[in-house]
Symmetry: C2
Subunit: 328 residues, 2 copies
């Protein structure tokens, strides 16, 4: 089996590639080659089969065709510019996140119309396709109504995925990822960044800023869970999805207070003292419009699994990111 | 005020143009010019102001810019190829219904970024953005999940409309039209055609074929009501919509049996005998996946009004289409 990851240089793309390379197979099928593509050249992975590393921009003419010409049996499409950039640069957001996705789908369709090529396509969407007004708990049949251009572009990708799949051009499945916490790496200025940094920094003895109140509630999954969602989606029989090809992923519903409590249990009271509360009305206002809780019934019925709580998310982080520096 | 109708040669476009020309004003503002555009040259209308008739294809390069260069204060965007054609010709459907709409929105955005141009845009969507599984009655916050390419293209148009409006490029409002009955004109081969022909033909003494059972339930409005929705949308203060810019329109929820009963009351038992029941499993199967009833609460609160029942829809048809041939 030939497996392609588009967006392979990003945090989740790298972890997904490493996991596939490590396993060497997926759903009982041997992986012969890994094709890793991104706008910057992805790092290679330790893999017994063939690895191809491609620096390419999906949204540029001819690039999607060149990728699809490699006839991957399975395509993970993770490539996107992030929410803040899509909001700051309207044209770039639509060019990369909408035109890029459509170019990929069109390249597959045109190949599919020539021969019997019908790859599986796993598309990562996001819970930010939802926007206020929202119920306290969001069901699978609640209306998608994004409040950012990024959310709009993902929502359009979901509709295209469903229509191209319905027409038989490929076999698509979309997964709406929760906010990823704990993101490894350095603090960034994304509005959601503190959801990771208030745990990540104190766990290594560094300070972190909390810009919202402790009762703010949101929906989370670890990077490991997100990779697990993608792998599960790739092996799922999509007939169970019928026409609705995108699923909200399960996650941990937690308040900032729950996060802090889990940090206390994992690393002690002193770790929590590294969190400095500096209320930021701009960030608080952005976060206030975000979804807080989902009833991800369809995904759970289909076997998608997230962590149970933030104790588990912290343990996963220690295992995956800090095993080399801690004695846990 | 300069008013543009894109899709002005279609059945609803013609009625809308005639209504605007007849009134001469909209929401208390005088209409100075009517710009009527379509892929075929629209017929002119009797109007005291200026009328421009344009044969143009919105989806062709430069055409949207040429339309927007006329700086209409209000744009009705009705142009689309219909459901059956969009399903039969995938590329053409996306080209006209998605690229055409996006070209228009982009042309407005680029003009808006140069000066303070911010037109009102009324976009006609359709209840076919909804697809099975559906509840018996569909609320405003039920998930949009189209089962046709036409529905997908309209759903994407709705998302773009909301995002471009949120960004302030124009002031958009989308209206999801019910199935229009009674459509004037000749029978056509659209799956929904019988919903009009079983009334329209018997009312003039002609036979009609009913391909589904009498208990089939659906959601309707007259052409006059549809024009009323568009005019009301054009004058509505969109601040009331907040982020959700597209509204499901109110309608008449009726079974085929209800239609036949109304025909009997309007034209007698003999008229109903002109309906020949010829069950068509293909059409019955298509119709089975269609929405049956809506709770169009938002639109009703905002003052959109449809007919109360099919007696009224038939009366409207007699007044608007047959006044010259009947003695009613």
């Amino acid at each position: 089996m030939r497996v392609m990851i588009i967006g392979a240089a990003g945090m989740l793309g790298r972890k997904l590639a490493a996991s596939l390379a490590d396993d060497g197979s997926l759903g009982g099928r041997k992986i012969d080659s890994l094709i890793l593509a991104d706008v910057v050249k992805p790092n290679t992975v330790k893999f017994s089969g063939e690895v191809e590393l491609l620096e390419t921009d999906l949204s540029e003419p001819g690039k999607a065709e060149a990728l699809v010409a490699r006839r991957p049996d399975l395509i993970f499409h993770l490539a996107a510019i992030v929410s803040g950039e899509a909001e700051a640069n309207f044209e770039k957001g639509y060019h990369v996140n909408l035109d890029g996705t459509r170019s990929l789908f069109e390249a597959i369709r045109k190949t599919a119309e020539m021969d019997s090529y019908t790859p599986k396509v796993v598309f990562t969407s996001s819970i930010v396709v939802y926007g206020e007004p929202l119920p306290e708990c969001i069901d699978d049949d609640y209306v998608v109504a994004p409040l950012t251009s990024y959310g709009a572009q993902k929502a359009i990708g979901e509709i295209l995925l469903a229509d191209y799949s319905r027409r038989g051009f490929f076999d698509g499945i979309g997964i709406r990822l929760p906010t990823i916490s704990i993101r490894p790496g350095k603090p960034n200025r994304a509005a959601s960044g503190f959801f990771s940094s208030i745990l990540r920094e104190p766990l290594i003895g560094e300070p972190a800023i909390l810009p919202v109140s402790d009762d703010v509630r949101h929906w989370f999954a670890s990077p490991r869970a997100a990779v697990g969602f993608m792998l599960h989606a790739a092996t799922l029989d999509t007939r169970a999805l019928e026409a609705r090809r995108t699923l909200t992923m399960p996650g941990v519903c937690a308040t900032v207070g729950d996060q802090v409590d889990a940090l206390r249990r994992a690393a002690g009271e002193n770790a929590t003292k590294l969190i400095r509360r500096e209320y930021d009305p701009v960030i608080a206002n952005i976060i206030a419009g975000w979804p807080r809780r989902f009833r991800a019934a369809r995904a759970e019925q289909l076997g998608f699994k997230a962590e149970a709580n933030f104790d588990e998310i912290i343990r996963v982080h220690l295992e995956d990111e800090l095993a080399h520096v801690t004695s846990h």
